[in-house]
Amino acid sequence: MKIDLNQENAYFTCSYKENGIVSLSLDMKNQKTNLLIFEFMKLYFKVLHDLLSLEVVKGIIITSKRSDFIAGADIHEFLREQLDPQKFLSGILEMHRQFALLDHYKKPIISIIEGNCIGGGYEFALNTHYRIAVEGNYRIGLPETKLGLFPGAGGAIKTARMWGISKAIKFVVNGSLYPPKKAAEFGLVDALCETDIAAWILAEKWIVAGKPALHRWGDHNPIPGGNLRSVNGAQEFAIAVQWIKNKTKGKFPGINYYLKTLHDGLGLPVEKALEVEARYLVKTLQSDVAQNMINTLFFGVQEAKKNKYLDPKLGCNALEMLGVIGGGMMGTGIAANAALSGFKVLLSDQSEEATLNSLKVSKNKIQKILFNKGGSNEQIVKVQKLIQPLNDLNALEEVDLVIEAVPEDLKLKKDILDKITPHLNAQVILASNTSSIPINDIFKYVENKENVLGMHFFSPVDKMTLLEIVKGSETSTKTLSFACQFAHKMGKIPIVVQDSPGFFTSRVFGKYTQEAVLLYLEGIDPKRIENVALNSGWPIGPFAVLDEVSLKLVLDVLNNQKKVSISENKYKTFLTELMKQGRIGKKTGKGFYTYTPNGKSLWLKSIGTNDTSDEDIVKRLNYVVALDSYRCLVEGIVTDTRTADLASILGFGFPIHSGGVFRYIDAIGLKAFVSTCEGFLKHGAQWEVSSHLKSMSQNAFQFYDGSKEMWGRKTQNGLT
């Protein structure tokens, strides 16, 4: 049979160049981008076997015609395939076998990476003998653990073999993505070139010079720092495992099975090790945690990104410059974020001096962020220059978006609005950055109410990806569309919620800290409350987070509230009492904790000997949040369960492994959830269960059926 050196299929094109080199260009025509798909792999193996068996072919250079190299595995296919785990396992093992067979030709295969090379895409590239990255604005890495998985197509074993145990574990568990320059420094790629031509020349030289087609992770190479059976390797592993245990509390099967993969597999011949890895991957995919996280943090994010308000025709394409009023922590963070996203920013604070100071703070933030990303000095200066001081309010006439970010005080906010509105143009979009004050109250006396809205940014602004967009009573679709697209450009994931005190995230999160205080007042040791919260998967304990937010801010919000329940009153009274004792929060060094340069220690002492079980403490803290989320759903504050799930994780750190508040309820079972809540009614009205929810629980309602949202669908009993 004659093998064609030049050939094309739905996934890639091969063409014979010179010097025995075949160029393989990835271009998955029926896909939005290049993805690691089983069908592609099948063709890849077949074609490469054919080509490499030819005397005339000396090596292969893989590039991509699309903007991504390979953007990752196809998650949909992944979820479909894992329904037959045995077959899925065979599929992965066969893939490893085929890659190993290609190595028998001893001919180099080289990747030139010039676009996102992520997850399964990077694992694919690991099977080539040399990886060259071309400088550019894209990323390389293995983020699988962020979706509850781990790199199970060879990535776990191979990275550990290449880099040694502790470096690989940190890399995989953090799931970081690196720009090409950083990727080269880290060792994700073997070389970095400025241009694709330079990369091609380097690759060509490599092949023509007849460099050996060996893998850095191959059996011939010892593991840096020793394998798991060496004294040093064992120590590295033990330290890393303890680090992870403290970080994750063992809540993530993906990370746990990743560590098992290394333990059981590292130090075995690669082929055997990959089998160990594959078996653990299959198990991971079967776990509820992985499925929950994929549904909320992959599909949920995808959905939020293309949310229904987003209409490019109505968006913010024309937006060049925005004004930020208020130069505190939020204002400077928003300004820095906007500049980094390419917008010009006018920033102002109370006085010219204060404005200059906040400008400096903002610029420092930019410097720090860009430096960590490997940006050059010129780049940093260029971005910093995008922020200018707003000393003359008349300059605001030029901007199409103004974000007010002054402290959470309704009167202050109104005063500021009074001051700036006369200087704005008629079309301007006016946003208030607030975590809890109703938008309708803030903008009560503003004209053009269709152009106003709330933008609840989270702190720290550059790290928190959620943007809670609050729809006022008259906010127009056009304004929302503008805001959603703006969120995109800012690198945020937008959710749109209805106006109401605390909106969705602050209102529901407040229930967590309130319940913690109530538990304390019932006589439970506050240390236990903190520890139990952390062990159940919260990133921060309720008292520590109150200190972060500051008790003053929390009280301001509570004081804004018109109606206060008995529980809320207890909470408010207690915080007020603490404030009187000078316990304000982390900023002043004194709150629930006492802060010293050496760290913090819990100041609050137990006032009783209540021995409520750890299990019940977890339920009190988590169920109260989930129950109030349900009320928000019914009240229409949040539109759907997936949005609420996403916001609960990204907005306030509800235990990630649960997949969010509603998946959490599903995991417990609505019946058990409701009966527990009813049992807690003696602790306050926050535990009241509506008759609607009760009747749903009797019908064993589930908020999800796999990936499908069930809330809002017509069901047989017509409940929702």
Binding site: H263, G265, L268, R279, K283
Partner: protein, 400 residues
């Protein structure tokens, strides 16, 4: 007080090499699975189990830090039960059983699990070093040989021919193959599964169809040690009647490196009632001897003589024997010295065909013997193993 054997299970055995199917399964997992099977199969009330005694020879790496307790902690039994790991070389698994019997007999414990585990693919033999291997005080002054050389010396000393050894090895495979295909042998032999519950290894993987012809051309394995490294001369220094060692053992007539685990449930009568299980056998007698360290592997004979004396029995009272096939010469020497017919010895094949996971083998043979007694409707069985450094261990059981 009578001590009863309530059950005795063994895992399938994998090749103890890079090609072995169980290489990806850490030994603690082998132990866990066989323990869990014991619990599930007999519906045990786990809080009545006092201790797990595990034999394990190479106690380093995956097998370091008291692997018995580690197995218990992750098993269905849980951490309220104790765990201890011992090393009596190849006899460890049987030593564990014998200690368990002694504990129950003394009233110190009422019900114990005893057995052993070894993953030779993951933890290579001798990787734990030790004075025996390295300290000149032992190597210079003593007359220790590598076991394979010792086996060759025995064969030479007792005029065993290569053909005899090979023929025995073929028989071991034939018997093991036949047993493997029979339903009976599956009752006490469990497959090893992965984290998904898929079989990693379903059946013993070392045993194969083999013939004298296949074995004929295999090169001797221990000639290098004997001739080049000078261990033959050590033998001559001790046994001046020898002036040559015939290096007859090779990969085909020596026990195979293997991965596996085994566990045996022992207890008094009361505990059997509490657990609502019927005993499969009763322990009659146990014995341990030290033997010639140079020949090293001859301990099975004095151990057997001693255990018979303990039990007040004659060799002809024993219906079936399990004699560990460390090397083919061991059972041949045993049968010759004690005048035992081959029809009574290792009827389901032995370590040559199935593999010898060092620390587990004692319990593996014990489990095999209990099966064999039941399936062939015989009453009295004897299990014996030779051990490193020159030791022999033996136990007699009566089927119930």
């Amino acid at each position: 007080m009578n001590v009863f054997v309530y059950d005795s299970l063994r895992t399938v055995r994998g090749k103890g090499t890079n090609e072995g199917s169980l290489m990806g399964t850490p030994p603690v997992e082998l132990g866990r699975q066989v323990i869990n099977q014991m619990v599930v199969k007999n519906n045990l009330k786990t809080n009545y189990i006092d201790d797990l005694i595990f034999g394990c020879v190479t106690q380093i790496g995956d097998q370091g830090s008291n692997i018995a307790k580690a197995c218990i902690d992750i098993s269905l039994i849980g951490s309220q039960c104790g765990g201890v790991t011992l090393n009596r070389f190849c006899g460890s698994g049987l030593e564990a059983i014998n200690q368990g019997v002694a504990y129950v007999k003394s009233g110190y414990k009422n019900m114990v699990l005893a057995g052993g585990v070894e993953s030779m693919s993951r933890v290579p033999m001798s990787s734990d070093g030790g004075a025996y291997l390295l300290d000149p005080k032992l190597t210079l002054d003593g007359f220790l040989l590598p076991q394979g050389v010792a086996a060759d010396v025995i064969a030479t000393k007792y005029n065993v021919l290569r053909h005899d050894l090979d023929q025995y090895a073929v028989l071991s495979h034939e018997r093991a193959l036949k047993a493997r295909e029979s339903k009976d042998s599956r009752i006490s032999r469990i497959p090893i599964k992965d984290v998904n519950g898929f079989n990693v290894l379903e059946t013993d993987e070392i045993v194969r169809n083999t013939t004298i012809e296949d074995l004929k051309n295999l090169p001797p394995s221990f000639e290098l040690h004997g001739k080049k490294m000078g261990f033959d001369s050590t033998a001559f220094a001790k046994y001046s009647e020898l002036n040559e060692v015939n290096h007859l053992h090779h990969a085909g007539n020596s026990s195979a490196l293997a991965d596996g685990a085994s566990v045996t449930l022992l207890g008094n009568a009361k505990l059997g009632k509490i657990q609502n299980i019927k005993p499969k056998a009763k322990i009659k007698a146990m014995a341990l001897v030290g033997s010639d360290p140079t020949l090293m592997l001859t301990g099975v004979v004095p151990a057997t003589i001693k255990v018979l004396k303990q039990a007040k029995m004659k060799i002809s009272d024993i219906d079936l024997f399990e004699v560990n096939e460390a090397f083919a010469v061991v059972p041949l020497y045993f049968m010759e010295q004690l005048n035992v017919p081959i029809s009574k010895v290792n009827v389901y094949g032995g370590s040559i065909a199935l593999g010898h996971p060092l620390g587990a083998t004692g319990s593996v043979l014990f489990s095999t013997l209990i099966d064999a007694l039941h399936h062939s409707d015989k009453n009295i069985g004897l299990v014996t193993l030779c051990m490193g450094g020159g030791m022999g261990i033996a136990t007699i059981v009566e089927r119930l």
